[in-house]
Each structure stands twice: as C-alpha cells, then as structure tokens.
Subunit: 214 residues, 2 copies
C-alpha cells in the first residue's frame, strides 16, 4: 500500500514563497532562491527532459522523491493558475508543456468542472470539483500499490495536513531568509511528526518526517 | 579573534516557545518539548552538575557549543525575569542558582542599573543599561580571543541579528509543531546566511549557519 506524501523547498524562516506574489512572480520576491540547489542536478534535469547536470548528496533525495509515484494531486494554481487559465477555446493545458514531467494521472483540485485532459507521455490531468478527500481517493485508486504525491501549493498542503491525510513529507531547508511571504507550516492544527532521516547537501538540508497517526 | 554566536532549539514551524507564555510557563504550551532531546545527554547534564546521561550524535554539538566561550550576553528574562526580579533586599540573584553553569562574565541587558553580581564558580553577572552594542563590546573585551555567546531570549537574538552583529548560529530543529508562540526568525530584516554543517541526531537536526558579512 502506497503513502500520501509531499516534498517542498522552504526557507530557513519557513516560507515557500517570498512577499508580493503575483501572476508574473508566483514565487514572490526572492522565492526562486529556494530552488537554486535543484536546477543544476542531473536527477532533476533528466525529469524535465534536459541533459547534463551534476550528482551530489541531493541526488538520492530527488530520485527517491520521484520513485514509486502512482498519481499526483495538486491545486489549480500548480496546474496553471491565473484568470485566463480556464479558457477552453483554445483550451489552456496548464504550464507544464505538451509532455508534463509526471507521466501518471494528476488530480487537479478546482471549482471548474472540465473533462480530463490527456497529454503526451502518460500524464492525464483529471479535474476534481468535489473536494480534497475525493481527489485523494481517486488518486489512491489510480496509484494502486504506489504512492500518491501531493504537488502543492502551500494552501493545499495545509488543508491535507489539517485533515490528517498526509503520511509523511520531506522539507528541503534552504539557507535563505525571505522575511515574509507564504508560510508552509501554518493553519494545520495539531499534528505530531517524527524525524525519519536527515541529509546534508550543498546549499540545502533535506529532512524527512513521518506524520504520526491519530 | 572569537566570534559572536548563539544556538537555540526551534520547532519545525519556527517557534522557540509555544503559545500562552507566562511567568509560570515561560516556554508556553508545548515549549518544553523543544528541549527534550538535550535533557538525557551526558554533555548537558555535566554542565548542570549532574551525573550520568547518554552519548549520541548530539554530544559533539553540545560540546562544541560549550567550548571556547569567553563571555555570555543575555536578556533580563533569561537572567531571571518577572516583576519581583529586581528586588535588592534580599537581592534576587537570577534563577541559575549559586553556581551558574556559565563560569565566565555574563552581560545582562536591562534597564535597571545594578552592581555586578559575583557568583560561585567564575560567573559574574554584569548589568548593562546602555544597549546591545555596549553589552557586546564589553563582552568581547572580557572574552579576549574566545567567543561571545548570546544566550537569548528570542527578542534579544532578533535585535542582534537585525543589527548585523551575529557571526553565526546553530539551530536545533525539533520535530514538533507548536502552531503558535514566539517565532525566532522574524523582525530581523535582510541577512544572508550560509549552511556550514548538518548533524542528524535522535529527535533533532542540528544545522550550523554562518552569517555573511554585509
């Protein structure tokens, strides 16, 4: 039986995006700095269809995060947000390109009903309008024995944590102070976590947590 | 030349104390859980004058934090807060006992002028009323070639970080979510940090940071 998990890069002061987020700048001021440790990695570049890149202590973390994934759940902003995002003629297919890097069914939480969208490479976006519990159930069915990965954003992660539905997560703690922005671990109520393992890597610390069952 | 540094235990959601702090409960609800990893360690117990205890991956972290210390700076609440704390007859000598675990000069930030207080074992509390810069200068003079350690609390740490006076710090990141309380890394403005080293230990992750000079 798979687990339901997420991984996210977070600043040392707890933000997943900097201040003044906008459509043009969804990561906010300084938010891109949270992801610099990953762009040069071969393990990440390969998933994006890019050649080259380096191998370091983060590599097994990325490989593990990418393995055994049977389905993905994400919020609508992560599929491709913005006010023009729901036009159907010509249809908006998100910002992941024709061959999105998921290669499994992706359940998108939204209030806009829409037919499933089959992309190249095995990714199908399925739009779910009846809530986070339903999206997770459908994703688990699609994933079978494999894991369901929660893509984000932060508010969707918070909803699933608060509902007690997450089994575990990994934080990539980046030595950057954003000062303000979108906090990850807020509005989640009382949950108990255990530290599973820690990996020191260049410019980032990876810590994996298990959520204790209630 | 020594450095000016601090170390502090912080919850995964960034708090050094839980909600509803009071004189009776200075760590707030759940705040004591931030320190459970340290109480059983021989390295910590020895410093408190206690026998026994265990050795684990946190041991070198504690030993390093305790070594090469020439002076300490702390806020008045850490010396021994509360409204009755400044009585002089009989004099209130803080809550560290007759033989405080510092064994060096300790500069206490306060608005109440008071003569230095010499304790057993080499600790002298010196009360500084002319600001954080003055306290640090006096501590550096007292420390000579050794380090000056900033004891806390969080608001004093924030003032020194915001003033650009800290050289480095170590966070003990504890797998506990407090939900609310006293945040550590807030109100500190723009500072740049570098990750120096990471240690995985039972129930805690130790991450050491250097503050980049401006």
């Amino acid at each position: 039986m798979g687990v339901f998990r997420f991984q996210v890069a977070v600043s040392l002061d707890g933000y997943v995006a900097g201040p003044r987020q906008s459509e043009e700048d969804p990561l906010g001021v300084g938010g891109m700095r949270l992801h610099e440790w990953i762009f040069g990695l071969e393990a990440w570049r390969k998933q994006q269809g890019l050649d080259g890149g380096e191998i370091n202590a983060s590599t097994p973390v990325i490989e593990e995060a990418q393995s055994n994934v049977g389905a993905v759940v994400m919020g609508r902003n992560m599929f491709g947000g913005g006010p023009g995002a729901w036009r159907e003629d010509p249809p908006w297919n998100g910002w992941w390109g024709d061959d999105p890097p998921f290669h499994v069914p992706v359940f998108v939480l939204t209030h806009h009903p829409r037919q499933p969208l089959e992309m190249e490479g095995g990714t199908t976006f399925v739009f779910v309008t009846d809530g986070i519990g339903s999206a997770l159930e459908r994703a688990k069915r699609a994933a079978g024995e494999r894991d369901v990965v929660l893509g984000g954003g932060a508010n969707v992660i918070q909803q699933y944590l608060a509902a007690g539905l997450i089994d575990g997560f990994e934080l990539h703690i980046v030595p950057v102070l954003l000062g303000d922005g979108e906090r990850l671990l807020a509005h989640i109520g009382q949950i108990e976590v255990e530290q599973v393992r820690v990996i020191e890597a260049p410019g980032v610390t990876h810590i994996k947590y298990r959520v204790a069952t209630r």
